[in-house]
């Protein structure tokens, strides 16, 4: 259960990252290590489609269809070693960027491999998380700057 929520976290980080930034991080990862990623093959090549986003008012109301969004998904497989079963990485990202979905899937697979996990965490996931946090803080600051305090004035009669 714990490893599942951990995986959900890194998959979310990969999916929400800016594609260019993710590409840059993966290049850094490649350059820092053996010079190349392990060989992988597509179980499902990147494909774009629509998904219906559903929601509940207040988290408890009736389920309703909020609207459709564009989504690109990709599944890759890495043969870690002949005796172990292959590792499968999933990438589901919003938008139509095929490279983004592919990189997210590859990073998801690498995060499940013992000998890659720490390096991917350090060079890809951590910087992307920092970016996301920075984005959120900037957004909050900008929102806070527009804050208006309403005062009720007593009208003298």
């Amino acid at each position: 259960m714990d490893s599942q929520s951990e995986r959900q976290r890194w998959m979310a980080t990969l999916a929400k990252a800016a594609p260019d930034r993710l590409q840059q991080c993966v290049e850094e990862l490649v350059n820092s290590g053996s010079g190349r990623l392990p060989a992988y093959r597509m179980l499902r090549s990147p494909e774009t489609g629509l998904v219906m986003v559903r929601g509940r008012a207040g988290g408890t109301g009736q389920v309703f269809n909020l609207g459709e969004m564009t989504l690109t998904r990709c599944v890759v497989q890495i043969e870690a070693s002949p005796e172990e079963s292959p590792i499968t990485g999933f990438g589901y990202v919003s938008g139509r960027s095929h490279p983004h979905a592919e990189l997210a899937a590859v990073c998801d697979a690498l995060m499940q491999m013992e000998n890659w996990r720490d390096r991917v965490q350090l060079t890809v996931i951590a910087p992307l998380q920092a970016d996301a946090q920075q984005r959120q803080e900037t957004q909050q600051r900008q929102t806070a700057a527009t804050r208006v305090n309403f005062l009720t004035l007593l009208r003298g009669e």
């Binding site: 093959r41 597509m42 179980l43 499902r44 090549s45 494909e47 497989q77 079963s85």
Partner: protein, 207 residues
């Protein structure tokens, strides 16, 4: 989790396969080649695999024979998202192997109001080669889509293989006379498909 990919080119391969399936239903008894899926799990023919990837989706229910492997189930689930049913009478599609073809009566024949809701049977004949030439135990067909009569044969390529059992053709005649109810069948060998819609009447020399 499946370990095998599906179509190389999902859009065009599915379109080509769909066209072959459509043509084979329009011309019963003619042999149409299907672009095979490069890798299929054991228990599924490459041609039948291609047909499955083309025809199945989230809304279709599939019945597999009990001896069918878990790998086939997982592969179909991963690539198509279809639902599996244990009751063959409610299945939209059923994948069966020669010579273990179940009675055709155990599938859904549709209702008078909705005859199109019947089960479509995908029959795999791995040891045979389907051909229009007069071969071993040819089957003559007549009906819509056929000019007069046509003949096709499921010739065995290996001595130990099994052809379609004679029981199938007896069931088929019952199926044909139940029109507009009845099931439709696709026969698959290693390379191609032959369509057998419920309108096709079989004239079997051995019956």
């Amino acid at each position: 989790m499946t370990t095998l990919p599906g179509f190389c080119d999902p859009v065009h391969d599915a379109q080509t396969t769909f066209r072959a399936l459509l043509d084979s239903m329009a011309h019963p008894g003619r042999v149409y080649p299907i672009p095979p899926v490069p890798e299929v799990p054991t228990g599924l023919l490459p041609t039948c695999g291609a047909a499955c990837l083309t025809l199945l989706d989230l809304e279709t229910s599939v019945w597999l024979q009990p001896h069918q492997s878990a790998a086939v189930r997982q592969w179909l689930l991963f690539h198509t998202g279809c639902t599996f049913v244990t009751d063959s009478e409610v299945a939209d599609f059923a994948i069966v192997d020669v010579p273990h073809i179940p009675d055709l009566t155990q599938f859904n024949w549709g209702t008078a109001a909705d005859p199109e809701t019947s089960t479509t049977l995908l029959i795999q004949i791995p040891d045979a080669s389907l051909s229009v030439e007069r071969g071993d135990r040819p089957i003559s067909l007549t009906g819509p889509g056929i000019d007069g009569t046509t003949t096709f044969a499921a010739d065995l390529v290996s001595a130990h293989g099994s052809p379609l059992p004679a029981r199938f053709w007896r069931d088929w005649s019952t199926n044909h006379y139940a029109y507009p109810l009845g099931i439709d069948v696709f026969l698959f060998d290693q390379r191609s498909v032959v369509g057998l819609p419920r309108t096709a009447q079989a004239i079997h020399p051995h019956s």
